[in-house]
Structure formats: structure tokens, C-alpha cells
Symmetry: C4
Subunit: 210 residues, 4 copies
């Protein structure tokens, strides 16, 4: 006979998952800098050449700041969502680990996007990466909230719906970016600038409803 | 004369070891992405070439997802095991540090396996790495559980045995992969796909026993 | 209707931000070592050549120790500031995330500065990076302290002003370094050695005032 | 007037320093793996060549395991020492940050030692790195323990002396390795194998004294 305390062993607390999430986000965000390379001395012959090399790094810098921004926003939002999630289960853990798998890919896909910003296959990989992250992030909450599975029993349904709507901004933007990249890969990454604008609008609407 | 409180100094709490474990797993899992390299501009001349280059990265992606999956599962299981381990001692600490040593090697061996998936020596290093991790993981629990050394005195023996059995899945799979790689290195890495299947089966058996 | 507890959801605790800060500082400080490269075997033919190569690494070592020192001091001071900040809001979070964005850039800009210490554009990027960090660090406190927005209501105004004055040392030094680099890029990085001297002086003045 | 609570602001708790220490050790230990490089496909033409390349990596593997072992032992011992240190001050913080500065250098110096194991200048940098770490580690405790500055007032002097003696093993070994490297660089790294032997001996002596 297995006692009650031991049959509960399968449930990891959400704290543990957040620790791994914190670690992986911090590292993935820091690895983004590795995509901005210091030029090799052989490649730079004169001061003017270095100057030009550094100016030519602007897509790398743009993608660095954009990816850092998207990952930070996601990290902040994940913590807000986890504030409401009070328990976890096996499937929920694996949704989160899948999310982390694609977060760790961002330094690769962001770097690819910056290096080949005019090439559809490179740019599409970045957008697809963001789309998968956004869908898993949405799934994380919708799985936890369904029938109040992993949240408080008295958690208001209106808030669940409102949170779901706000979480649609990210996947819809990523999908839009992917579609735009079919026509114009070079400018498709600018689509994400839509997110901060959208977030501010949604907050104003939300405040006016109260 | 040395007082009682100071003679206990040698015992590190399990919390400290888990902090190092959390950090090292998060970093090792994130470093896995470094094995997927952005192609050098010199190597890619046309858009079509980049497209082909990216498709040729599929063994890197497969190994990335597989290694991330194996390390995540190990991390989750380690936390479950540590939930039952209530104290530690010197030998136990060093079993765990040895485990971490081989976990940190995974970004190297996974990258080697992906780059030279048809070469026995490369593939065997990956499988050997996984085998050592799996054996140390098994040893970690069997050392802690022997005579209830590092666990509660009333921890049921049936659960100890059950946990040991479940922990055999990983070393047996790694050994099998190593043996298969003698005949066919290219496909031997697929052996690990056996693990999620096996875990689900074992859980069903376990549930039916209750 | 949205309950009171849920409308507070937007406020992340300062603890969460400090966790991300701790992680990112630790990783950025560790990545600094990647700028000191082990010479390729092809480049070194004899023992004498290695000896000379290692001596030629002195700007890399100087920049490594300097950047590590500046980031450690910033990290220590951030923790002191956060000791007084008892709550946070959206804008405050984004000031901090912007700070982290530029902290993560340090391994790049420090490496660039070391490799091209005689080139204005390279050196200016390092100083500009430090200046942005220093300004955001100052802004972090001045935003939190204005009208006691994020600090205790009875926090003495004299201490707020004193802290602001001390926080001016870093941006002023970075600006000075940037100006000096216009005339002499090679030696401008030495300007930061002014900081430890200044900190000791300010502490003595502060102590004599009590 | 500055209140009493605010004049204490300068004292960071030891917890904060340990958090940075944990992060930096975990990352430095994980970066050690980057010194073991996957061979470029261009360099390897046949399966036999890869086999030989991997065998030629043995100094890299030896140095990886040795450095990981030394850093783990240091990390464990630091936690034991910090268990007895109940407060900190400015100088103590900077002793610790200096220690971290040289810990972060280990991935560089270990990699240099492995790549040029027959060259005195390369090997001496590794030993000097270890010596500085060992001296700072000794200084950390001797500073904290002098006049019971940062430890409990009733901490027994006998234990302070015993701990100091045990902490001499590491700097003496590093100094010995440095001296041996003048004569024979290639084998000098083996000197550190003396440490586990020495630790076991000291523990036996300590136990017989009780």
C-alpha cells in the first residue's frame, strides 16, 4: 500500500517550474548578445572600415532589442499568469517545458533573422518560432483555466476571458508577421512593434470598463 | 573541544545542492542552442542555398529537442526524488556533482552526435554520456534509500522498489542505444523515443496496482 | 465584475525583478570571459609566440577586470536601492528591463573596446553603453523616490538627495570618458578608475557629516 | 538627520552575495564545456580521423573534469564557510567579488592549459589563476574570523584555526603546481590530484582528535 503523501509526489509545485523558467529566460536573454559579433581584426583594415562595419550591425541591434523586449514581456506576463495558477499537473509541466524549448531557440532564430533579413526562409523561422511560443503561452493559460483546473475555484470567469483575449495579441501578431514575410521578408519583423501599441490600447479599454 | 553544532557543519542541506542543480540544468539546456549554428554569409551565396542549409540542420534540431526533453525529464524527476531525500552527506553530494559534470557535457556530446550522426565514435560518446548520467541518477536514489540512509525512517519499502524500477528505464534505454549504435549509428538516437512511451505504460501499470 | 484582488495583478513584486536582475548580471559578468580568446593552434607556431600572444592580451584582461568591477558595483548598489524600494509599477519594471538590456550588451562593447582600443567608434560604443546604464540606474531611483512613489512614506528626503548625488558619479564619469575618447580613444577607458577613488571620498564626507 | 535604519543600508546580507556566487559558479562550471570543441567537418575527412581527433581531446577532458572538481569543491566549502559567517561588510564583499572575478577566468585558463599543456606560459596562467582563487578563499575566512569580526562571538578559536589549516591545502597545492610547471609544464596539472587525498587524510586526523 502506498500512503497518501506519496501518491501526491507526482505534483511538482509551480515554484519549481518558475525557478527553471527564470533561469532559462535570463540565460536566453543574455545569449542574444552573442549574435552581435565583434569584427575580426583581419576583416577590418582601417578605422573607417570598422565604423562602417559597426553601422552595418544595425539589423543585429534591432533584433537584439526586439527579442529582448518580447522575451521580457513574456517573462513578466508568465509571472502574472503564474500568480493565479495555484497548482500544476504533468501535462501543464510539459506545456511549459515546450515553451522553454522554443524560448531557448530565440537566440538562434533572432540571429538568423538579423543576418538574412531579406531571405524568406530565415525570416519565416523567426516568425514561426515566435508563433509557437505565443501559442504555447496561450495554451498554458487556457489549459490551466478550463474548468478552473489549476486555479482558485472562485476565480471570476470574466477575468479568464479577458486574459485570454489579451493573450491573443501575441499569436495574432506573430501570424501576421509570418504572412507579411511571404510578401516582404525585410520589413516583416517590424510587425512586432504593434504589440506595445496594442497593450496600451487594451489597458485603456480595460480601465474604462471598470 | 569542538561543540556539537560545529561538528554538523559538514552536512550541506539538500536545498543548496538543488540550487546548483537548477542553475546548471538551466544553463546546460540553454547552451544546447549553440549547437545550431547560423550559417556564415561566405558559405551562403543565394537564397536557395540558405534554404538548403536550413533543411540540412534537421539532425541538429532533432538532437536539440531530444536532449532538451531528456534533460527536462531528468530535472523534473530529480526534484521528485529530492522531495523524498531529507538530508545529504559527503558521498551523496559527490554523486550529484558527478551527475552535474556529465549533464554539462551534454551540449558537447549532443552537438557531436548531430554533426557526425553516421560515425560510431561520435554517436557512442553521446550514448555513453547519457548512460553515465542515467547510472548516476539511479545511484543517487539507491544510495539515499539504502537502509533509509537519507530518507524518512517510515518511507515505505514498496515505493523505494517501485522508484528504482522506474529509474531503470533511462539506463536500460541508453545501454540499448549504445548497443544499436554498433550496428547502425545513424538511427540509434531514435532509441530514446522509447522513454516517453515507457513512462506512460509504467504509470498505467502503477495506477492499476492501486 | 472584477474583484479587488485581481485588479492588483498588474503589480509584480520587486523580488521577481531582482531574481531576473541577479540572473542576468551573473550571466553577463560570466560571458565577459568569452572576450579573452585562447589562441588558435595555427596562429601559434612556437612557445615564444604564445608568450607574446598572451602578453598582447593585456587590453582584454584590463577591460575584463574593469567591466566586471563596474557591473559588480552596479549590482551591489542596485540591491541597496531595492532594499528601499518597497513596491513597483509598470514603468518602473520597464526602466529596469531597459537597464538589463544594456547590461547584457556589456560583453559585446567591452570586447569591442579591448580589440580596437585606438579606434574612436569602438571606444565610444563602450562609453555610450556605460552612459546609458548609468542614466537608467539614476532614473530607476529618481522615478521611485519622486513623491515617495515606490518607497516608504517616511523615507527621509535628505537620504533621497544624498543617494541621488552619489548616483551621479557613474553617469558623469561615463560622459567624461566619452568626451576624452574624442581626443584620445586609447586612454579614455582609464577614466573609470576615478570611480573607486570618488566613492571612498564621498563616504568620508558622508561620515564626517554625521 | 539620517535615521538609524538607513545608516545600516550599507550592509548587504550574506544571502545576496551567496546568490551571485551560486549563479556565477553554475555558469562558470557550465562554460567549461565550451573548451571541448566539436571538430569542424572540413578538418575531419574520414571516420578514422574523427576517432583520432576525439582521442586527442583527452587533455581537454582531463582539464574539464579537474576544473569542474576544483570549482565544485570550492563552492561546497564556500557554502560551509558562509554557514558560519553571519554578517558582511564592504571589504568582505569585495574580497568575494574578487574571488568571483578569478572563478570566471577559469574557463579561459583551463582551456589554455589544455590546448598548450607543454608550454610554461600557458600552464603557469592556469596555476596562477588557481593560486589567486585559493589565496582569496583563505583571505575570505581569515578576514571574517579575525577578532570574530563577521562570525558569532562565541565561535570557538580551535575551529577557526582548524578551518584555516584545512584552507591552506588549496593555495599550497597551487603554489606547488606553479613551481613544478617551471621544470615540467606537461605534468604539473596532476599536482591537484593531491587535494582529494589530502582532504581525506585531514578528515581522518580531525576525527581521531575528537
Amino acid at each position: 500500500m502506498i500512503g497518501k503523501t506519496h501518491s501526491n509526489r507526482n505534483l511538482l509545485t509551480t515554484d519549481r517550474i518558475m525557478t527553471l523558467t527564470d533561469g532559462i529566460f535570463a540565460i536566453a536573454m543574455t545569449l542574444l548578445v552573442l549574435s552581435i559579433e565583434v569584427p575580426k581584426k583581419e576583416a577590418v583594415t582601417a578605422g573607417a572600415a570598422l565604423h562602417q562595419y559597426l553601422l552595418a550591425l544595425y539589423p543585429q541591434f534591432f533584433n537584439y532589442f526586439l527579442s529582448f523586449y518580447l522575451l521580457s514581456r513574456l517573462w513578466i506576463n508568465l509571472h502574472r499568469v503564474y500568480h493565479d495558477i495555484i497548482r500544476t499537473d504533468d501535462r501543464h509541466i510539459w506545456i511549459n517545458i515546450s515553451l522553454l524549448m522554443f524560448v531557448v531557440l530565440v537566440p538562434f532564430s533572432a540571429s538568423l533573422d538579423a543576418e538574412y533579413s531579406g531571405d524568406f526562409s530565415a525570416v519565416a523561422i523567426f516568425h514561426a518560432n515566435m508563433l509557437v511560443i505565443a501559442v504555447l503561452y496561450f495554451w498554458n493559460w487556457s489549459y490551466a483555466a478550463r474548468n478552473h483546473r489549476l486555479i482558485e475555484a472562485d476565480f471570476p470567469d470574466a477575468v479568464i476571458t479577458l486574459m485570454k483575449k489579451r493573450m491573443l495579441v501575441f499569436p495574432v501578431t506573430a501570424l501576421l508577421a509570418l504572412l507579411i514575410s511571404i510578401m516582404t521578408p525585410s520589413y516583416s519583423t517590424l510587425t512586432y512593434l504593434f504589440i506595445p501599441f496594442c497593450v496600451v490600447r487594451l489597458r485603456n479599454i480595460q480601465n474604462s470598463l471598470r
